[in-house]
Amino acid sequence: MLNLLAQTEMPPFAAEGGSDQVKQFALYTLIAGFLLVAAMSFVPTKLRRPIVVGATFLAGFYYVLLWLWPKPVNFAPEQKPQGSEHVGVWLTNALPGVSSITQTLTALLLGLGVYSVLRLHGTKLIKKQKDWAFSLVLLISMLTMVTIGYVDYSELKNNPDKVNQASWGFFQYAKDFLFDGMLQAMDAAMFSSIAFFILFAAYRAFRIRSIESTVLLATALIVMLSLMGLVEYALSKQVIDSITGGDPGHFMNNFALNQVRNWIQTYVQGPGILALTWGIGIGSLSMGLRLWLSLEKTGG
């Protein structure tokens, strides 16, 4: 199948967004998906795991090969591969197709989220469980946003002049009110409330109880002071310059607030983060291998 995907412009199963062809493909894929799921339900239980393990292995194997298989250097898309170059070029050319599949699969996760919300809150509403009124508000809000958003998108697609406010109709105003006027404002309000908790947490937790906490507090103080442009300007530029007389080679320049902050970032914070990232990378590699080879007990 991957041979079919080895195109340089558009994968053969893809079509231009919004075209009739893409709608046809979507329908065929939907039917094929349902048939596949239905077929899987008839597969004996003992065979299911090998199928899932095999599919997982094949999906991961492509990227492993893409990473490890030697590829011709500076190979132009219009060139024809020769001899052993075929596999490397074939793998590279298949990337857009495989990438489209992963984009689609990831996008389906959004659909899965929507399905989950509908199922959970729909059940709550139908069975009139506790706080069903909140579920009703949530579902009405979601359906309103989806409907208005989609109509607005369709109208804009066919009439891009509607971008200008002078040409707005009901759905553009409604979307503006719902998205910018309400959703975005509430989003910002929720996030800004963190500032209050940070302030109180700093007050309660930043206490000098040990040497370690003293070092942490001193470092945090330097970083916080250096974030304030005015303080840094006054301490690094005015005070230090008055001592050094503007001589860039003067030893005291090392004690300017911005230099101390840069030293902390470069020699303390940076290596610490690198060490963490290194550890996380090794862990991710190990976890990736376990998932790819279906060694995780819950993976299949």
Partner: protein, 318 residues
């Protein structure tokens, strides 16, 4: 003194609310704060101002209004540079379904400013393409580095001259882009770890990467700057203010014979300030006084708490 250990949380919340809000009622000229620029922001700005005029850049905008204070200023600053250097851009998102609309709103807001200033607006199709959300940015960036002519396969946009939707590859924005090396720069404005994904797929592939991140993400992003995998870095609100300072005052530049305000020893040339039409350059600066007030309050709270603790410890010993 023991009261210092038990300040009412609601009193602190109210105080924070008041001190953060006051600067918004002051005139903009009263909240202009002189700010030194750091080498990472200098490098970012210098590289941005050296993108060849008329080039195409990709902007991955991965923020929503929850980080507007930092990210909006970053996107606005770069879009103003795009206007100044006549850069074309592809706008996309890889982290949040809300992000594409938020970025388009920023373009719309800036277009209104440009119109008032008599500058040309960003026109869809001719000047920019909004290609929406890529749910799997890792796969997307991998195709960009392998063959950019397939990365936007299937994406269409409305061509006003033709009166119909056409492949984005036919637009002036992407028409001449054959490989990722033809891109002037790839800019990412993010409030999450999406920079990691981009650097892992695009670093060392011949395209300049320019991250603009929130303060929370800055320590992680700094590692990429130190290693040379990105050309510069704008960190949080402070980074926005530094960019605006350089946009307003230039780099190694002085209108009279005075010493330049922004001195970048690593850059031999000089960059003039942006023209008057692109001003005001105060999106970040308008929030900066509030950040100062909040940080001062936080430092005071920590100091008061520790004075109370010290007093309690001494009292306990005696």
């Amino acid at each position: 003194m023991e009261k210092l250990l038990n300040i009412n949380r609601y009193a602190m919340y109210l105080l924070l609310c008041v001190v953060v809000t006051i600067p918004f009622f002051l005139p903009p000229s009263a909240t202009v704060i002189p700010t030194l620029t750091n080498p990472n922001t200098q490098d970012l700005y210098i590289n941005m101002m050296q993108i060849p005029e008329g080039s195409t850049v990709i902007i991955e905008s991965d923020w929503t209004v929850s980080t507007r204070g930092e990210s909006a200023g970053q996107l606005e600053a770069f879009l103003k540079i795009c206007r100044h250097r006549n850069l074309k851009f592809v706008l996309l998102s890889g982290a949040d379904p809300q992000a594409p609309q938020v970025a388009l709103n920023t373009v719309k807001r800036l277009n209104a400013q440009f119109k008032d200033a008599g500058l040309p607006e960003f026109k869809p199709w001719d000047d920019y393409l909004a290609v929406g959300l890529f749910p799997d940015p890792a796969a997307f960036w991998q195709t960009v580095s392998a063959n950019i002519r397939t990365s936007f396969a299937g994406k269409t946009a409305y061509d006003p001259a033709a009166g119909q939707r056409r492949s984005v590859y036919e637009s002036p924005v992407l028409k001449n882009i054959k490989t990722n090396k033809d891109l002037g720069m790839v800019v990412i404005i993010t409030a999450s770890a999406s920079l990691d994904t981009m650097v892992q797929r695009m670093s060392g592939k011949g395209t300049k990467l320019a991250p603009m991140v929130t303060g929370v993400m800055a320590p992680e992003a700094m590692v990429y700057y130190a290693s040379g995998q990105v050309v510069g870095l704008s960190n949080g609100l402070r980074g926005v203010v530094e960019l605006e300072t350089m946009m307003a005052r230039g780099v190694n530049y002085s209108a009279d014979s005075k010493e330049p305000f922004v001195k970048a020893p690593q850059f031999p040339g000089k960059i003039e300030p942006l023209p008057e039409g692109l001003k005001p350059l105060d999106r970040g600066m308008s929030y900066f006084a509030s950040l100062h007030a909040a940080l001062i309050l936080m430092i005071l709270a920590v100091v008061l708490g520790n004075i109370g603790l010290l007093y309690q410890n001494r009292k306990g010993k005696s």
